[in-house]
């Protein structure tokens, strides 16, 4: 999208804007926050949180930058040396994992290919593990970070019946999920079950039901808070190239 168009219409938001703002708001001030490879949306959400309500959140990443002063994001990577620029310390990935193992990582942003309503995550294969129909990239850190991070937040830009399934083909990891953020809604784990937490104002409960392979259950029906003008202005400044939308462009 043309930058000028975004600038002129900072109050018109897309699912990618809502998703990034939701992820940013889930970061609390002073939280230690990690995102990995192929993670433009959480990378931008972390920078957004630090620029708005959570200035003391600690941004951790694969190249090992601690609170980098990110001036130029890269389109092709969320693990490049730009995330060490202006950083105060080298804290490489192995240190971040160690931190999570001993209970010191507050937020880990992760993804996957399939999810079911028991909180099972599949990032490994479609079909049999040893003779897969489709070999996926793999869970990267998920298998050890989802069980150990204080809050594991998942984002997925596909919300359809192949993604949200009655039962995943393979359990890469399970359980300790805080939220799942999609283009249609936010899910939360509640007593071992994935429940609808909020509906994005750009979607509806009907659309969510039609695109989810398990029954939608909720405690209270509510809408996701829309991005504020402050958030949208900060987003456009942080991400002028609109990389928060690249996962949608691919489709």
């Amino acid at each position: 999208m043309d930058n000028n168009v975004i600038k002129e219409s900072y109050l018109s938001y897309r699912p990618c804007d809502i998703m990034v703002c939701v992820m940013a708001r889930l970061i609390e001030n002073n939280n230690t926050v990690f995102h990995g490879v192929s993670s433009h949306m959480p990378m931008i959400a972390t920078v957004l949180a630090k620029a708005t309500h959570a200035p003391d959140a600690v941004h951790l990443n694969i190249p090992g930058g601690v609170d980098p002063e990110v001036t130029t994001l890269q389109k092709y990577t969320s693990a490049g040396s730009e995330l060490t620029q202006g950083s105060v310390c080298d804290f490489p990935l192995s240190d971040i994992f160690d931190l999570s193992m001993r209970g010191g990582l507050d937020v880990a942003f992760l993804s996957g290919i399939q999810f079911d309503n028991k909180g099972n995550v599949n990032a490994s294969v479609i079909g049999d593990y040893h003779k897969p129909k489709v070999r996926m990239p793999g869970g990267a850190g998920s298998a050890v970070l989802i069980p150990t991070a204080k809050r594991a937040i998942i984002w997925r830009t596909k919300h359809d019946k192949r993604t949200f399934v009655p039962k995943v083909d393979f359990v890469t990891t399970r359980g300790n999920i805080d939220k799942i953020v999609t283009p249609l809604c936010v899910f939360k784990m509640h007593k071992g079950e994935l429940l609808l937490d909020s509906i994005h104002p750009t979607s509806s409960i009907e659309e969510i039901s039609e695109n989810t392979g398990f029954d939608i259950r909720y405690i209270e029906l509510k809408y996701t808070k829309v991005p504020t003008e402050t958030e949208m202005r900060a987003l456009i400044r942080i991400d002028p190239q609109d990389y928060r939308n690249i996962e949608f462009e691919k489709k």
Partner: protein, 269 residues
């Protein structure tokens, strides 16, 4: 003792069937020139070790050099999508995908570094990876008698790394992110280094900034400008988008051979 040699002699140190650790992370500072030479020398049945790999592992699978891949993640990132040759090779049963969490690769390498047969890893208790892979299991903690999950040590026969600077003895330094390269080097029996620049040993002796990898662990040093290209090398160059796209568009082994030829002069000077 100088270990400076040409790329052919360096890669000749790798034998078919070796376990090979590869430095860098996704498209960053991957030792691509060394990888290309492994394909030219038609290495076979290699067991590849990497935390998060992309073009390096994809190309080695395309070149039919690989028997298995132990890794947490094999894919290009957002812009360049999936590692198609790796996926195809796994789906056709030609390559065994040993899925780890990136951390379990590190833990397996740490076990090798410490000279012990396995390493406890927290967090693996959940999920199926521990059930389907023979390199993970559960043991009793002899102190508390509670169960802990463990990963088997991985000791690469050879680790290949691309760095910005090395001296001819093998002292090597990386600028920018170092990823898991030092761990991969310490865990391995042999280390092959390619370097953008060959510097004098005094560059380390007289500087506050010391080498990351000491000479006595290194078996070969190769001077290769743009040795990580088309991947990035911090402070030297960013990715070569067109070359990555060209590679991803290759259809067969003849086209791959032609693609490798384009780099041959730079790699093998």
């Amino acid at each position: 003792m100088s270990k400076l040699m040409n790329i052919q002699s360096a890669i000749a140190l790798i034998e078919n069937g070796n376990t090979v650790g590869i430095g860098g992370n996704v498209l960053h500072r991957a030792p691509m020139a060394l990888v290309r030479e492994m394909i030219r020398q038609q290495k076979r049945k290699l067991k590849i070790i990497k935390t998060a790999g992309a073009m390096d592992v994809d190309m080695l699978c395309f070149g039919e050099c690989v028997e298995s891949v132990d890794a947490g993640f094999i894919s290009y990132e957002s812009e360049f999508s999936l590692a198609d040759h790796y996926r195809k090779a796994v789906q056709e049963g030609k390559v065994k995908a040993n899925e780890h969490a990136c951390y379990t690769v590190m833990s397996a390498l740490r076990a090798a570094v410490y000279g012990i047969p396995f390493m406890p890893v927290h967090g693996l208790m959940e999920g199926d990876l521990i059930e389907v892979n023979d390199y993970f299991t559960r043991i009793n903690d002899p102190f508390s008698n509670e169960q802990v999950t463990v990963v088997k040590a991985i000791r690469p026969d050879v680790t290949i790394i691309h760095v910005q600077e090395a001296d001819e003895n093998g002292n090597a330094i990386m600028y920018g992110p170092k990823f898991d390269d030092i761990l991969l080097a310490k865990a391995a029996k042999k280390v092959i280094i390619s370097a953008e620049n060959i510097v004098e040993e005094s560059r380390f002796r007289l500087s506050r900034e010391k080498a990351d990898i000491p000479h006595f662990m290194v078996s070969a040093v190769v001077h290769i400008k743009k040795g990580a290209a088309p991947c990035s090398c911090a402070e030297h160059y960013d990715i070569d988008r067109q070359s990555i796209l060209d590679f991803k568009a290759l259809k067969d082994k003849e086209q791959l051979a032609h693609y490798l030829t384009q780099y041959e002069k730079a790699d093998c000077r």
